[in-house]
Amino acid sequence: MGDHSHGSPQESGTVAKAQDGSLDKIQDPGLPPHRARLTDTDPRAAKRAERQVAILFAISMIGTVLFFVGYFAVGHPESIAEIRLQNMLLGVGTAFAMLGIGVGIVHWARTLMPDHEIAESRHEVRTEEDRQDAEAIINTIVDESGINRRPLIRNTLIGALALAPLPGVFILRDLDLTKESAGQIVDRLRHTMWDKGVRLTRDPSGTPIKASDVQIGSAFHVIPDGLNDTEDPLNEKAKAVVLLMRLDPEDLSVSPEREDWHYNGIVAYSKICTHVGCPVALYEQHTHHLLCPCHQSTFDLTQECKVIFGPAAHALPQLPITVDDEGFLVAQSDFHEPVGPGYWERG
C-alpha cells in the first residue's frame, strides 16, 4: 500500500495512492448480504427452538420450586448436614430460576425473533439539530410521563428525592469536625478504658492475670477489667484490646523514658494496627515479630513495636504495666498516645 491521507467524512473510506499516483477511492462494500437462519427457513427447526426455550423456562420454574422446597421443607435445619442441604437447595434453586429465564430469553431472541439488520450512518456533529433532537426526546418523556399534568405526583416525587439523602448525611454528620462536639469525638479517639490500677484480664473470660502466670514465649489476649460490664463493650474493646507477651528482658531494647513500662520482660502493646485498625495478633515467638493479618504490617517487638514492614505509619502504642500488691498485672496509666490509625487531629 502507498501512504495514506485522511479521508473527509463525505468521502469516507481509506484513501490510497494507486499505481499511477492519482487518488483512487475504494468502493464502499456496504453490508454483507442477509443470511437467513435455519429457524427462518426450516419450520421444524423453529419448532425445536420453541421447545428448547419452553424447556429453559420450565427449568426456571423447577428452580423456583427447589428454592421453596429448601425454604419450607427443610425448614429450621438442626444439623450441619441439613444446613448444607438447605443452602444447596436455596443456591441451586435460585441459580436455575434466574439462569433459566435469562438463557431462555436470549435463545428466543437469537432463534425466533426477527433479525433485521439495521445500520445507522455516521454523520457530523450538528450541535443545533442534536440539541433539538435531545429537547424533543426530553419533551416526549415529560409529555408521556404527564408530570406537568399531575402536580401531585411531581410534588411527592420532589419531596421523596429531597428526603432520601438525609439518612446518609445524618449518619456521617460526625465527620463534620467544625462543630463544638468535634472536641468530644477526638477525645473519644484519644482515650481508652485503661487507667492507673486497671487490671489486665483475659479475653474473653475477663479473669485477671498474675504476673507469675506469664511464661516466656507466651502471648495473652487482654481486655481491661470491667469491660464486659460497660454500656458499649464492643466499642470500648475496639480501642482497648491489648496483646501481652513475655520475652527475655535481654532481648528488649528499651528507650530511657520507657524503662519501667514492662515488668520482668512482660510487655503489653495495643492490638489495634496503626494502619487501618485491624487486630495485630500474629506473634512469632522467636523472631518477636508482630504481624497484622490484613495488610502484612510487621512490628518488631524488641524495638518497641517499630514498623519494619508494610503500610502501617507508626509504632504500636505501648501500655505501661506493673503489678499490684496481690501480684496481678495492672496498667500504670492510659496509653500515652492515641491507639489505632492516624487522624487529622492526632498531632
Binding site: 435455519l38 450441619i80 444447596m88 433479525d115 514465649g217 502471648a219 500474629l282
Partner: protein, 262 residues
C-alpha cells in the same frame, strides 16, 4: 450337611471370611495400641531413659549437642519437657530434614516406644511440660461452643477461623489443624513449637484446651456448611475463583450473546 458344604462354596464366602479376619485383627490391634497409649502416660522407667539416651546420641546429638545442651544448629533441650519431644518427633517434624524457615511435617521416623524413650530421656534433663493425660484429650467431655470462642480469640489470627492454616513472614506458616492428633494439638499449645506462642495452663486451662480440641474435631467432622470450601482460605481462593471461573462464565455468555445464530 450337604447344604452347608454347598453354602461354604458360595462365591462370597471367601470375602466374608476375609472381612471377618480383618475386623478381628484390626480390633485386636486397636485394643493393643490403646493399651500402649495408656502406658505412655505413665511414669518413665530408668531403662526408658537409658534407651532414649542411646537414640538421642544416634539421631539428635548432631544438632542438639551430646548432652542436649544445644549447638549452632539446634536449640538446647534442657527443660523443654516430654511434651516437646512427643510433639516434634511424633509429628515427624524432628529429626529435621533440612534447615529451613521451619520444620515441616513428614513421615514419622520412630515408633511409639522409641518416642516414649526419647521423651523420657529429655524429660530427665530438666522439668518441663509432660505428655497430657488422656482425660484432657477426651472430646466427649469438651464444650465445643466455649472452645470455639477461645479459638477465635487466641488462635484464629494465625491458624484461620476455619483452622485451615495461614502464612507468616519469610516462608514461615501456621499449619492447617485438620487431621492433627488431639494429643499433638494439646502439646503444641503447651510448648509453642517453632514460632507459635506458648499457651500455658495458667493462660488456657487444661479443660479449656480440651474445649478447643473438641471445637476443632467438631468442625472437622461437620465439614462445610454449604458449597465448596475452596480450602477455607477466605478472600484469596474465593477471589481467584471469581476472577477466573466467574469472569470466564461472563465472557462465555457475552460471546454467545453477540455471535450470529446459524
Amino acid at each position: 450337611m450337604k447344604a452347608l458344604s454347598q453354602k461354604r462354596r458360595h462365591p462370597l464366602a471367601a470375602v466374608a471370611l476375609l472381612l471377618m479376619g480383618l475386623l478381628v485383627t484390626g480390633g485386636l490391634y486397636a485394643a493393643a495400641s490403646s493399651v500402649n497409649e495408656a502406658q505412655a502416660a505413665s511414669a518413665y522407667s530408668a531403662s526408658d531413659v537409658e534407651e532414649g539416651d542411646k537414640l538421642f546420641l544416634a539421631n539428635c546429638a548432631t544438632c542438639h549437642g551430646m548432652n542436649a545442651e544445644g549447638t549452632e544448629a539446634g536449640p538446647s533441650l534442657i527443660g523443654v519437657g516430654a511434651a516437646s519431644v512427643d510433639f516434634q518427633v511424633g509429628t515427624g517434624r524432628m529429626p529435621m530434614q533440612m534447615q529451613g524457615p521451619q520444620a515441616q511435617v513428614k513421615p514419622v521416623q520412630f515408633d511409639d516406644d522409641q518416642i516414649r524413650q526419647l521423651s523420657a530421656y529429655v524429660a530427665s534433663l530438666g522439668a518441663g511440660p509432660a505428655v497430657p493425660e488422656a482425660e484432657y484429650l477426651d472430646t466427649t467431655l469438651g464444650n465445643s461452643g466455649k472452645g470455639g470462642e477461645i479459638f477465635r480469640v487466641n488462635c484464629a489470627m494465625c491458624h484461620n477461623a476455619a483452622a485451615a492454616g495461614g502464612a507468616l513472614t519469610r516462608g514461615k506458616f501456621a499449619p492447617s489443624l485438620e487431621g492433627v492428633d488431639e494429643k499433638h494439638i494439646y502439646e503444641a499449645m503447651v510448648i509453642g513449637p517453632q514460632n507459635m506462642p506458648v499457651f500455658n495452663d495458667s493462660n488456657i486451662s487444661p479443660e479449656d484446651k480440651r474445649d478447643v480440641i473438641t471445637f476443632l474435631k467438631e468442625i472437622e467432622a461437620q465439614g462445610s456448611p454449604g458449597g465448596a470450601k475452596l480450602g477455607s482460605l477466605g478472600p484469596v481462593s474465593e477471589g481467584l475463583f471469581v476472577w477466573t471461573a466467574g469472569l470466564g462464565i461472563i465472557i462465555a455468555f457475552t460471546i454467545w450473546l453477540t455471535s450470529r445464530p446459524s
